[in-house]
Symmetry: D2
Subunit: 358 residues, 4 copies
């Protein structure tokens, strides 16, 4: 239940304000060069407090590998990684100890488990996504050896849409913006919301290039279905689109079908997936994030004893979670594709004879 | 890979034009009254050829239970169900034997497996969803004993949106329309496309009421994430929304948060799920279906030997797959919720002491 | 819970006296020639009533493939197989309807599920092993293409041990005896027990040759551990040994270690497995079967209402289940090794580069 | 592949001489009091260097809980535990860096993964069982609330069998001996082997009392089959018996059947399991451990380049691994039973109505 994937499995642990969080990544093939600096750099992309668009909360997010790597190479055994918590201010949460923050998981965790770790949301905190990013970084290293690359960026904020998709721009944008033109208005929307003690939603576009034909396991582990699960499982995600997604619903079949030529598909409405299997074209997924539920306005709520009370949050929070969500989307896509890459092996008898009989 | 669920598992088999298709539903608690007539009635809702909006292809879809039921009750052992194929016209597919139909899985199956059953799409055919409906029907029977009800309807066709959600109307509408007002324009759009040898997209809204608080297994088997996987895995699905979904992206946090009172949530933007766990409110999911890829216009494609060729389809196909997709969405939601109901047992120590120590 | 294996999965269904039993074998690589006559011949080896050492009960055990095979080749989709029940005499069980047969699963099924299908043991009947043999036959076909062969025989009956292991003799022996010398005494022990309305235990030795080095997934899906589960899960099995097993407990380390030379291991006390991974030597497993619990002597038991009653069985039963158990042991070893063969793919990065980058 | 269990899952990581080893235990119900001192005391029972019968190697085996526990109670989220390695002497292994120790997993790991962590066996070291014991300790706490108790002891060493089963004696015996009479000869056999630079085998008997009727999931997650997998997966295990095991093979059916009275079973040849499901009687399992492969005599072996070489081991090793194996057997039985306890919930419809409808 805390494990993602089937052959490459990420099992995570840890609460927002516990001793540590981390993961076990199992199924990494032996002989992969593990670039620890790269893993840390991915965590640095995710960590908060880098600029005014993000929470001012600082987290070191220093990752340590405990197992599974020997002399710089993966050994085929489980890779455990841990991030010790350092800058946790549990006191920020004393005033929400006995009440349920609207838009948060407080209510449901309390009723499901009969108790909850109220400090910073406990297990339900987006802080857990650091473990996903650590695991995703190794998945990226594995995919890179096969020529697969994953990129992302924010394509919409508060209803302001990007008109271009410029991954290089996103890499240097403090809000991971895909469209330099739209970026100004998007930044302004974020800052306005922040000043109003409010928050805004946003959309992340994630893409993978170099994906071979054949990844995805029909019928109940389809590539698009698993990507949908992967993305919808990220904190605050409320919708997932594959390829043209919602827009394809408005087209006729004659417009939406990607016709085929000896040189490849003439278009990519499908987002690189047909019948749940990659078709060799770019994989495109959009993930919609709701506005951050932690806002600094008075809200109605109840206590754990079902008494009406006013909720006044303290603490430090991102006004738009989509920004830091982008690197998490990349991690989830990387984990999905790496898993699918492994699962696909052995789908034809010739795979077996190649490996076992040379 | 052909199994859905963790504790209630549906494993399906069968190709469009093979001898039979069917499923094994494992994990049904012992002592559930199995109403075979209800299962058949669900299959009848899904089967094609009921009216002019659907393919004229007739399929009996007569289901037979082979195991797991004794004297009208589930025994706790696997329930196998089979539907023998009767009206399959393999000849309709002779002309597509060596080419890839645009928008279909032909290309990806051929490359993944090195061969394909070309008759009617083989395993990739939506005909397989009959097995989902059979399994979903038993899940519904199980949920009903707990007071959980699932309903659905078409809320959009070719961009024409429903303004009301009337499940009772949908039950008697030949296109499962949720809005009697919008229905006329929607039907016209479908028929126009059909006359133009084309097809249209559509959106299905599925809802569950009576769901207890606490269903959903964080962090990697969240209720919303699994619903996303369940729906995105249905043939032709391209986007999934939970609750307000895409629309919530355009709201401020102060607008989107569902505030809480001693009598319950003041709104349901969340679609009944917080932190991946049901909050007791109505579960709402929207599934977007692309226009049917089988159209009767000339399309460019290639053969299995990578030669350019024109694709001219024969056969009989739905102009809007969302219509019959509605009952499949219900089945997938039922299977998901029934699985979550079982998985949630044992989440608190008091569950164990109640069951084992009375 | 009714599924064996991780990448090659066998899911079975069916009760002794229901309409049918069968299985879905999922994960078979595409392009394997499916020899239906061979599958049937394996079922014929298992079916009862072939000679005086077995139950006189006749079962046709005619297997039918419903899916997953097209033009003689596996397509990579689930292979469903069904065996319709034909010679079931439910009346034989009318007198045990309300009581628990000693040594059988009646008591535990009734209490676990709150009801039971009492006809012939229902799901707990060894009749279900027909589905294992059908699945195992396809696993054997797959293994054969890689040069792996599985054989078995009875090495002990009623304490009378074989001194030689002659698989060829077993093939033609009506009791699958491995030792022609011991066979006479073993047959006599069986017939004596049968005449006394009693039964005897026996031991099956199963071996696999041609197994490549490297099969088995440490640490919780080790080859020896999974073989132990596979064998112990067969009806009436009470002990499993790997290689020298119990005997190795009586040796010193200096006697039991298999020393290594450039030409291979000097001995095979280990039974071909080190650290849960195959070492290239012959895999050897012994499975101990208790005496058949169905005997025709009066036994004390209780009714479902906990009243003391005398149990007098009718029907037709094998006096020594190990005999027909041998082919089931082969099937379980074949399924295990085929699964391990698939799981091992992708354990080194060079596997991935070979498959994906040629 | 490094995960044991289905609903209560133990995922372990770590190598003998890496930074740390540990585990994530997922699925523990919320609200269980986590007694850290008890967990540590279980690790202390397993840790080496306590007396002359064990290796003189000292390992602190100090366990630290990183997550999943709040204010002394389990929260329902994953419980991560870590043990940092402190007394590892990698230099002891410099001389075996390029050769394969007979009886060890060196050969198979090297060939499976293309490389190996040679220090102390790396992942294949029995040191990993510390993580099992930590997880098993929490499983024991959970089982204890349901009245289930697990005990063990050594019932045979070097062929010298115990005639009595005295768990209380075992608790205070430095070799966990079940029979005070046999203990003297058993100790002598161990010390003689040690003086001869050799090792001996042994057998552990593990038992569970207070187990409710109904645990075990037929047909492919039977209680006996999973116990067999659990025990056979422990380092050096070569045979597993349930109940009378091998001895039951030598009985007639009339002797081996456990007859039933209104007060319970008249005997327990079955070891508390019928048809893969617990019958309420004591669960009894015997695990046979081969003699320690690490001996201090010259042995033939080969290098990683397939050259003949003499193996001369250094380091510190147990002369009889069964002794410390006993606490590991207990842990594996506890994990198995706790998993089965959770899986059994929801097997009857009345379980669901009890939990969800009060």
């Amino acid at each position: 239940m805390n494990t993602f994937g089937k052959k490459l499995t990420l099992t995570t642990f840890g609460e927002s304000h516990g001793k540590a969080l981390g993961c076990i990544l199992d199924g990494v093939p032996a002989g992969l060069a593990i670039d620890e600096a790269f893993i840390q750099s991915e965590l640095d992309r995710r960590k908060p407090g880098k600029n005014k668009l993000e929470t001012s909360r600082k987290e070191a997010d220093q990752v340590e590998i405990l197992s599974g790597v020997f002399e710089g190479l993966s050994t085929g055994t489980p890779i455990a990684m841990v991030i010790f918590n350092t800058n946790q201010k549990s006191k920020d949460y004393d005033n929400v100890k006995d009440l349920f923050r609207p838009g948060h998981a407080d209510f449901t965790y309390f009723h499901k488990y009969g108790l909850r770790d109220y400090r910073g949301g406990g297990r339900s905190s987006a802080r857990e996504t650091a473990a996903r990013v650590a695991g995703g970084a190794i998945a990226k290293l594995m995919l890179k050896t096969l020529g697969i690359e994953i990129q992302s960026g924010v394509c919409e904020v508060d209803g302001i849409k990007a008109n271009t998709v410029d991954f290089n721009h996103a890499k240097h944008s403090e809000m991971n913006a895909l469209d330099p033109e739209a970026e100004r208005a998007q930044v302004e929307a974020i800052l306005t919301a922040k000043n109003n003690h409010d928050s805004v939603g946003g959309v992340v576009l994630t893409a993978a290039t170099g994906v071979p034909v054949g990844l995805g396991e029909p019928l109940y582990y389809k590539l698009d279905a698993v990507l949908a699960e992967a993305m919808m499982g990220i904190n605050a995600a409320k919708a997932v689109e594959i390829g043209d997604g919602v827009a394809s619903t408005h087209l006729k079949g004659s417009q939406n079908n990607d016709q085929i030529t000896p040189d490849g598909f003439k278009s990519n409405h499908a987002g690189g997936i047909l019948g749940g299997i990659s078709n060799g074209d770019t994989i495109v997924v959009k993930t919609h994030f709701k506005p951050t539920p932690s806002i600094f306005q008075e809200q109605e709520t109840i206590t754990t004893h079902n008494e009406a009370v006013t909720c006044n949050l303290k603490g430090r929070h991102d006004p738009c979670v989509a920004i830091r969500g982008a690197v998490v989307c990349e991690a989830m896509m990387a984990l999905t594709l790496a898993d699918m890459t492994l699962l696909n092996m052995g789908k034809k008898m010739e795979h077996l004879t190649t490996i076992y009989k040379g």
